[in-house]
């Protein structure tokens, strides 16, 4: 129906302006507006110096990123040649025919060997386990924690902590310890709070935070291959994780019900909290004296294991994909070939990008380069991700709508929240044609 309508409109079009002829010497990459995009622009400048092909990284605000991208893709627009897209976009973009299949490219360059396994599995492969690849992992990312070293290492605090909890105050070895520490430092009278976590009911904010706990506790959001949700999403492990996430939320600064990455970093930089959960991509600001007065006192750790010994963290990050409607596909492929070279990946890491190249990640040089790279390295080998189905956005908003009233407003209980969400998800998946249980 849509095609006929477009045809009809084209027929009665009031101005027949033909699209400009494709210019081969230019490539445009779409990404969201943040520092890694600035680093990428610096990297592609070097490509221009080498080859003469001008590459522009065009950015849109994060909250509008997927709206902008999919509006463009759905209309089969050729304004962008490449996109650095979220892992969850894969299902919609690949089944929609918007991305070019890069399996051959991945095989040729042995990406499954050179890139960290999780990054290929989550940023590139769709459907899971199919061996079909749609992107080149570009910016690795996951949730990690920042903490105040000076508070943790204060002898008086250490003694008081030992007194109260019976073990030494240190980087938490488990999620239970993390909650103890948050409770310990939560002193509203002194203007100090325990932990800053994600709570915003927009985009993927609160869902990322909750899933991070669910994964660590050994729970899951469902089986991405069999579409089983019931019994997995609302397992006891998930229920415990959600309850503890709510508890952790209460150790946040006052009115903490509207927080995402910027708010978490602000709370840390303003000396409000002992610990903060954030994506690794946002940590450079915390070790920069100009943006964080407490930069010298910052420490970082990977998401701790849950009470049952499971050890996972939530994945962020993006892969770069070739858009089917690009009129410069050949040029774009050449660019990707340049991008996956080890030298380029090394340069990318130097500029501030989070490479997904396994060899570089494992190198001493990378792991020592910043105070958080070691934690990043550890995390990238234990990550899990959200659903990547074309319907991921429905599942995401439904999850946010379910988690927010419980976590922020304290309405209902964790079990009911997850039972209800499981039923909602099964309905949504079923009506989308999956054999969900």
């Amino acid at each position: 129906m849509r095609k006929t309508m477009v045809g009809l409109l084209a027929g009665v079009s009031f101005a027949a302006i033909s699209s400009l002829a494709a210019q081969a010497q230019e490539l445009t990459i779409l990404w969201a507006e943040w520092d890694p995009a600035n680093y990428l622009q610096e990297l592609v400048n070097e490509y221009q110096a080498e080859t003469g092909v001008a590459v522009t990284v065009e950015t849109v605000p994060w909250p509008d990123f997927q709206t902008k991208l999919f509006t463009e893709l759905n209309a089969q627009g050729s304004a962008y040649d490449l996109v650095v897209g979220d892992s969850q976009f894969l299902g919609a973009a690949s089944t929609g025919g918007h991305y070019v299949d890069l399996t051959e490219f991945a095989t040729k360059h042995e990406l499954t060997k050179t890139m960290a396994p999780a990054t290929m599995a989550y940023y590139s492969e769709y459907p899971g386990g199919s061996g079909t690849y749609w992107s080149v992992p570009l910016e690795g990312d996951a949730l990690g924690w920042a903490y105040r070293k000076d508070w943790f290492e204060d002898p008086a605090e250490m003694a008081a902590f030992k007194e109260k909890f019976g073990y030494d105050l240190a980087v938490p070895a488990t999620f239970e310890q993390l909650i103890d520490i948050a409770e310990f430092f939560h002193r509203p009278d002194e203007g100090r709070y325990g932990a800053a976590i994600y709570s915003m009911n927009a985009g993927d904010a609160i869902v990322m935070g909750v899933e991070n706990s669910i994964f660590a506790y050994g729970g899951s959001l469902g089986d991405y291959n069999t579409y089983q949700v019931t019994g997995l999403l609302n397992s006891q492990a998930s229920i415990d994780a959600l309850e503890d996430y709510r508890e952790l939320f209460t150790y946040g600064p006052p009115g903490w019900g509207n927080a995402f990455f910027a708010e978490v970093n602000t709370a840390i930089a303003q000396g409000q909290v002992a610990m903060g959960m954030n994506f690794f991509a946002f940590f450079p600001a915390l070790v920069n004296e100009a943006t964080n007065p407490h930069a010298a006192n910052m420490g970082f750790f990977a998401n701790p294991p849950g009470p049952r010994g499971d050890d996972f963290a939530a994945l962020g990050g993006q892969g770069i994909s070739l858009i089917s409607y690009s009129q410069n596909q050949e040029e774009a492929m050449k660019f990707l070939e340049w991008f996956v070279k080890e030298d380029t990946q090394k340069r990318w890491a130097e500029l501030g990008g989070y490479t997904a190249n396994a060899a570089i990640l494992e190198s001493e040089e990378f792991r020592k380069a910043t105070p958080f790279n070691e934690a990043f390295f550890q995390t990238m080998f234990k990550v899990r991700d959200f659903w990547a189905l074309p319907e991921y956005a429905e599942l995401l908003t439904e999850a946010a709508d379910a988690f927010y009233p419980y976590v922020v407003n304290g309405e209902g209980d964790a079990k009911t929240t997850l039972d209800t969400l499981a039923a909602t998800w099964v309905d949504t998946l079923k009506s989308a044609g999956y054999d969900a249980k």
């Binding site: 409109l9 302006i17 520092d35 110096a49 849109v60 500029l351």
Partner: protein, 319 residues
């Protein structure tokens, strides 16, 4: 009420003036806060407790016009010393300037977007006001079949949340090649504004006595001459008021600018709020962009201020 002669009246008048000043100050305080944020170092923009007194800096404005990236290593002191003052401000803020392949500093998109905004808002305002005025004249002076229904239809085009038509609009624009063009946004904003313009101008033209034109016609003017020489000057106040409102709407439109345009024709509103560095919303740059962007529309309004007070009557006042 308007006659103030008694002592109580004078006192009332003074109280009213005091109240006006007080309310104006309250209304302006958020604007003051935005403006002061535009002159703060980033750390002070979100300090706890908020910082009211501080040493102003113009770093946010330098940042607004440049492309930057977070420093990942300390700056080489020799490089720092050799840098011009404005680059030093960037270094002090923990960032480095992005450079292109030739080593030249890269400007941010802000100046281009600003110019796009000017072109698009000014042209669409001119179009909306012109169309609105002649249409209002048509409705006011001639008998049009189904006039009330047509006017209601014109009004109704403003009732739908515009995002609803965003997808069809995008498909239409792509089909005819209007996406990412200035003309595309100009036409769209004209469409948004023309209903408001028709309603405002119709009220105004209704108030201009028909006898003026009748007299001109008797004197040998054609209807068109009468319209241009008699009606338009009489309607100047209404036109000015309409123009201010159309300009404000076109100047600040966000959603369609974001969806329908890319690099070539995008306006400033989608650019301004997108200043997110590495994990910190750069409030100071957003504030700087906002303050500069407020200036043209504030000046325009100020120049037409006297017309505004009389021009917003919608013809709803009985004489």
């Amino acid at each position: 009420m308007a006659i103030v002669s008694t002592r109580a009246g004078r006192l009332g008048n003074r109280l009213a003036i005091a109240a006006v000043i007080l309310v104006t100050l309250i209304f302006l305080s958020p604007i003051y806060w935005i403006t002061s944020t535009a002159f703060k170092p980033l750390v002070l923009a979100t300090s706890v407790p908020p910082t009211v007194v501080f040493e102003p800096t113009i770093t946010p404005f330098v940042k607004l016009f440049t492309k930057r990236a977070q420093l990942t290593a300390p700056v080489d002191p020799a490089v720092y010393e050799a840098a011009p003052w404005w680059e030093k401000l960037i270094f002090d803020g923990g960032e480095r300037l992005s450079r292109d392949g030739n080593g030249d500093v890269v400007f941010s998109a802000y100046p281009d977007r600003f110019v796009n905004s000017l072109i698009i808002a000014v042209t669409s305002t001119l179009l909306a006001v012109s169309l609105g005025t002649i249409t209002a004249y048509g409705f006011s002076r001639f008998r049009v079949k189904g006039e009330a229904d047509l006017l209601f239809f014109i009004l109704s085009t403003r009732m739908l949340p515009p995002i609803v038509v965003a997808i069809p609009m995008f498909l239409m624009y792509r089909a005819v090649g209007l996406n990412d063009t200035h003309i595309g946004l100009i036409i769209l904003y004209t469409a948004f504004n023309v209903s408001f313009a028709v309603w405002l101008m119709k009220g105004f033209i209704d108030e201009i006595p028909k006898e003026y034109e009748e007299a001109a016609l008797v004197d040998g003017y054609t209807r068109m001459q009468a319209f241009f020489k008699i009606v338009l000057p009489e309607a100047a106040t209404g036109i000015a008021a309409t123009a201010v409102f159309c300009f404000i709407t076109a100047w600040n439109e966000y959603a369609f600018a974001l969806i329908l345009t890319n690099r070539r024709a995008q306006t400033a509103p989608p650019f301004i709020p997108s200043q997110v560095g590495t994990g910190l919303q750069d409030w100071t740059v957003i504030a700087a962009g906002t303050v500069l962007f407020l200036l043209p529309v504030a000046i325009f309004t100020f120049l037409l201020r006297n017309h505004l007070l009389r021009g917003m009557s919608f013809g709803a006042i009985r004489k």
